[in-house]
């Protein structure tokens, strides 16, 4: 139990890297698709809805497998420059996670944008502020405040989602835990150690979001 602890801790770094990179890209994807969802053009609107429906309706495992095992099968795809990225399991996992969390984030942000009172935007317009500045200085800050609690849940779900990286040969916290279990046959001890590390991370994320909610809250 004690000897496995340093190994698990160094694997935690991999998990955190996967989490932060996929959240970073996922936030951009989510924002893009949330804006597309609010577009009045029905095709753009339906396209964004279809994206979030497909990625929320299928398991993350399928998405990783399609990207990691599936895309490499296309002959033409292998010859493009994108292959440099897609042949690495690390980047495949991050792309899958980012697309997945992007779909959930777009839903969170969309509902946040929709709950903004029209009065805020009208107030901005009557003051003669341009649409662009209204979007960046009024709509986005309010949307961020509205979506913080739901986004906090999404971060924790994503933290748990990164455990699937172990299925495409990456040695993240779950991957190393599985390796130690299968070599030492001590499932309960390893589960307690690895589980505590995950719980500690969820605890930190939970409190961080609470702190941010207080800081940016209305009261």
């Amino acid at each position: 139990m004690i000897t496995s602890f340093p190994k698990l801790l160094s694997a935690t770094v991999v998990t955190l890297k996967l989490l932060s990179l996929s959240l970073f890209f996922g936030l951009f994807i989510g924002l893009l698709f949330a804006i597309l969802r609010l577009n009045k053009n029905i095709f753009i609107n339906k396209f964004a809805y279809g994206y979030s429906y497909v990625f929320r309706g299928t398991p993350l495992l399928v998405q990783i497998f399609i990207i990691y095992f599936g895309l490499g099968q296309i002959e033409y795809f292998r010859s493009t420059f994108l292959w440099v990225i897609f042949k690495e399991p690390y980047w495949c996992a991050i792309i899958a996670f980012a697309l997945n969390t992007g779909a959930y984030t777009s839903e969170i942000l969309r509902s946040a944008f929709q709950t903004i009172k029209p009065g805020f935007i009208e107030a901005g317009k009557s003051l003669g502020i341009s649409n662009k500045i209204i979007f960046y200085k009024i709509q986005i800050p309010i949307a961020i405040r509205q979506s913080l609690p739901a986004y906090g849940n999404e971060i924790i779900l994503m933290l748990k989602g990164t455990s699937l990286a172990s299925t495409v040969t990456l040695m993240d916290l779950t991957g190393v835990a599985k390796y130690i279990i299968s070599t030492t046959f001590k499932p309960i001890e390893v589960f307690i150690v690895a589980g505590s590390i995950y719980l500690f991370m969820t605890f930190v994320i939970h409190n961080l979001i609470k702190f941010l909610e207080k800081k940016y809250g209305y009261s």
Binding site: Y53, V54, G57, T58, P59, L60, L61, V62, Q63, F65, I66, F69, G70, L71, Q73, I74, I156, L159, K160, G161, T162, S163, L164, S166, T167, T174, A177, K178, I181, S182, F185, P187, I188, F191, A194, G195, Y198, L199, T202, F203
Partner: protein
């Protein structure tokens, strides 16, 4: 298309049975989850600090630890635990547990944690006056729970339970790591032997989408049924 034909040449029948297996595991896991929720919801709502602590630790731990880790615990630790219990009763042979049972138990415990939260929320949002009214009417606790609380709680819980069902359905894909032949495992086998992973994993995605779509339709009808009179 011939890849999906039924019979020896295609994977159609295998994938069909795999889909049935996914549905069977999901339903079993959901029912096991309800069983856990039935035990832990009263604990979470209890005023006793110790019971409260047990209920809260269950939901916190399970919802904070990756599903895959829980599955590995059951997969590698399940037969050991059963053999230990059996050895107390004097049975020392090797026992291997069926992948279906381990898998649905692991997913069931996870789904139970989410169901517990849903039931707790639903019960807490029932008006206190309902309890007082049934006391005034002299209803027995049993009648009070099944005739007053349950119908109202179900109405509030069904929309959130449909989310739990979706999570459970998607989590069953993780059981493929233990070798149970459900959609994901069957696609993995088919992709390996035909060297066509893109097609089979995309087809698996379509199957999951179909399952979530159909179950949502079904749940919507239930929702309408239980919200009669509101």
């Amino acid at each position: 298309m011939e890849l999906l034909s039924f019979g020896d040449t295609g994977w159609g029948d295998e994938l069909f049975y795999a889909t049935l297996m996914t549905i069977a595991v999901s339903i079993t896991a959901m029912l096991i989850g309800f069983l856990f929720a039935l035990i832990f919801t009263p604990l979470k709502l209890s005023k006793n600090k110790f019971f409260n602590f047990i209920g809260n630790s269950y939901t916190t731990v399970i919802r904070g630890v990756p599903e895959l880790l829980v599955i590995y615990l059951f997969f590698f630790g399940g037969s050991g635990a059963v053999m230990y219990v059996a050895s107390i009763f004097g049975y020392n042979e090797y026992i291997e547990i069926n992948a279906f049972i381990t898998g649905s138990f692991a997913i069931g415990i996870i789904s139970g944690a989410y169901s517990t939260e849903v039931f707790r929320g639903a019960i807490q949002s029932i008006d206190k006056g309902q309890f007082e009214a049934s006391q005034v009417l002299g209803l027995k606790r049993f009648v009070y729970f099944f005739r007053v609380i349950m119908p109202q709680m179900l109405r509030l819980a069904i929309p959130n339970l449909s989310n739990v069902w979706q999570i459970t359905l998607k989590d069953t894909s993780l059981i493929s790591v233990t070798g149970l032949v459900e959609i994901m495992r069957q696609s993995y086998i088919a992709a390996g032997s035909t060297r066509d992973p893109l097609f089979f994993y995309s087809f698996a995605a379509v199957l999951y989408l179909l399952l979530t779509f159909l179950s949502m339709k079904l749940i919507n009808r239930l929702e309408i049924k239980y919200s009669r009179g509101f």
